[in-house]
């Protein structure tokens, strides 16, 4: 309870769902064999932590930012470029991560103080411009960043796939297994930090600002500083997650670290899972990443099954999986605007009240 800052998911359905995801992530290396399930589980960990930090901005503070993935990228490039330049080693990764965190904090401070004084929409526009500029910069500086191709780098010996620790419960425990658990532990720790922050006196002020910024000011809260601090803290978390992901991928490039499609994914995950719940990010990430990886196959199977019918096989072509994800997203927004966890918690709250 103290670990959860006194704020567990409300009601057993939401609780069960979050516990299920957490247990599945913890057990993935033991339950499944092969690279693919571990890739999927790692992506869930990364997206859950990244989406949770975005939820602190969007769901708790009411700030729309398009630069959140940029901070993720700064952390990823920090670890990647440091490991590439200095050679594989824990020191290089730590140095790169520290550099990424520092740059993220500085950028967040500048963007926040520059643009959060005025209306929220101005902040959204500025973040869009800065993120775009950063994306272009990363691609146009091939000597430093590897340009469009990015940089592949080597990780410390212990984390390499070739490093065998032995066998446990019939599964080979390798450097990849260790890397996965590092990512999982890091993501879980960051999630708990975020949970503490939204339940702290500071986090409570963020929610007040979302509800009624002028009233929060009349109480004596200087909301520009609260908003800016929220952007800085979430940027730091995003950068940290970026560093973890780079360590897993052993590669950093615009497509994996800075792409706007990641930003959209994060937004979709927060909305599907439930804005302002934090746990929604975990559930949303699991649903989204699993759909992204297995919906294709499912749709492909459906296409084969309906091969004799007109039109349907075309619509069900595996390449149309994004279309179907879009349909699911629209249905979710229409019928469960609070998202999965938000909706479950609302039902629980209403059940208790009546």
């Amino acid at each position: 309870m103290r670990l959860l800052s006194g704020d567990p998911p409300r009601g057993w359905p939401a609780r069960a769902l979050v516990v299920l995801v957490a247990l599945a992530l913890a057990a993935t290396p033991l339950l499944f064999h092969g690279a693919k399930p571990l890739e999927v589980a790692e992506k869930i960990c990364v997206m859950a932590a990244l989406a949770a930090s975005y939820d602190v901005l969007l769901g708790y503070t009411g700030i729309v930012s398009f630069a959140h993935v940029m901070f993720f990228g700064v952390g990823a490039y920090g670890v990647g470029l440091a490991s590439y330049a200095l050679g594989p080693g824990w020191g290089a990764m730590a140095l790169g991560l520290a550099g990424g965190l520092a740059l993220s904090a500085a950028l967040a401070l500048a963007i926040g103080l520059f643009s959060l004084r005025v209306q929220a929409i101005f902040f959204a526009m500025v973040t869009l411009a800065v993120a775009y500029a950063f994306n272009v910069l990363a691609s146009q500086l091939p000597d430093l960043t590897g340009g469009e191709d990015g940089r592949s780098f080597r990780v410390p010996e212990l984390l390499r796939p070739g490093h065998h620790f032995g066998h446990w419960l019939g599964t080979a425990v390798t450097g990849r297994t260790l890397t996965y658990y590092l990512v999982l532990a890091g993501a879980a720790a960051l999630f708990l930090v975020l949970l503490r922050i939204v339940n702290s006196p500071f986090g409570r002020v963020l929610q007040a600002i979302r509800e009624n910024p002028l009233r929060a000011e009349a109480l004596g809260y200087r909301i520009v500083f609260h908003r800016t601090l929220a952007v800085i803290v979430t940027a730091l978390v995003a950068a940290f997650v970026g560093g973890l992901d780079a360590m897993w991928l052993r590669y950093v490039g615009p497509d994996t670290a800075l792409s706007f499609s990641i930003q959209i994914d994060v937004l979709v995950i927060v909305v599907i899972g439930g804005r302002g719940t934090l746990y929604g990010a975990v559930v949303g990430a699991a649903v989204f990443v699993i759909a992204e990886n297995y919906l294709r196959a499912l749709i492909g199977a459906a296409a084969t099954a309906t091969a004799d019918l007109p039109l349907l096989p075309n619509l069900l072509h595996p390449d149309r999986w994004l279309l179907w994800l879009g349909v699911l997203f629209i249905l979710a927004v229409r019928f469960a605007p609070r998202g999965i966890v938000g909706e479950l918690q609302r039902r629980h709250d209403e059940g208790r009240r009546s």
Partner: protein, 250 residues
């Protein structure tokens, strides 16, 4: 004696319209000043200029002799300027307790603390419960604000100002829209605060019986100008005021 709050030639223009027109007035501790005037006279705008929701076009606002014209609303609140709003102005999705607790937290100066859960600050929580009890809302602590009656929302609004323990209290029609049996609760509260000689109280109110019973002094605003200023009996009796404000009702 230094006034607790003072305005000098305070003016705000919206385009060609002068909503508050060179109002100079001083308010003193231990005094309850009622501000009256017809709708659109600039009473709420005058309040907004003093508490910092609006910036003056010209003129100055002083608190205890210090010029605060350049300060924003949060800084003015921290200097002891408390404001209860006319249109209910709360945090609608948060609980009744949380609304007051946020005010108590601001009073305690806890702004950026993020390493401990909010429950760990039991002092703030206790202060919030005590404040709710003062306005008779202790039974509704767990309710959503949206579930409160209009009268209870007004009480909550007053509770949030009181939680800040300001020296200067600005009530903007605190009893507007309240049912007859709810009005005395708020008036008793104001009367209670008035007994504390260190408090400076400003009250915008339409109900003349309320003004008569509570006010030490009345100022009249009309078309943004200060038209009359004096003891209640004198101001209410003046022909100018009878014509401009009380009109047919007098």
């Amino acid at each position: 004696m230094t006034p607790a709050l003072e305005t000098r030639e305070l003016t705000i223009r919206f385009g060609g319209h002068v909503a508050v027109d060179a109002v100079s007035c001083a308010f003193f501790p231990g005094q309850l000043t009622a501000i009256v005037g017809p709708n659109g006279a600039g009473k709420t705008t005058y309040f907004n200029l003093m508490s910092g929701q609006l910036r003056a076009s010209s003129g100055a606002v002083l608190v205890r002799g210090r010029d605060i014209t350049g300060l924003d609303a949060p800084r003015r609140a921290r200097l002891g300027l408390g404001r209860a709003f006319q249109l209910t102005n709360l945090f609608p999705a948060l609980s009744v307790l949380e609304n007051v607790r946020l005010a108590c937290q601001a009073r305690a100066g806890v702004h950026y603390e993020m390493t401990r859960p909010w429950m760990a600050r039991r002092d703030i929580l206790a202060a919030a419960h005590a404040t709710l009890a003062r306005v008779g809302l202790e039974g509704r602590a767990g309710s959503a604000v949206s579930a409160l009656s209009h009268g209870d929302q007004r009480k909550l609004e007053v509770a949030m100002m009181m939680a800040l323990e300001p020296d200067i209290l600005m009530f903007d029609e605190p009893t507007a829209g309240m049912s007859v049996d709810e009005v005395p609760v708020v008036l008793d509260l104001i009367a209670q605060l008035k007994r504390d000689a260190s408090k400076t109280i400003l009250l915008v109110e339409h109900k003349m019986d309320v003004v008569r019973s509570l006010a030490d002094r009345i100022i009249v605003l009309h078309n943004g100008k200060l038209m009359a200023d004096g003891p209640p009996a004198e101001v209410i009796a003046s022909p100018l005021v009878r014509e401009a404000y009380l009109g047919a009702a007098a």
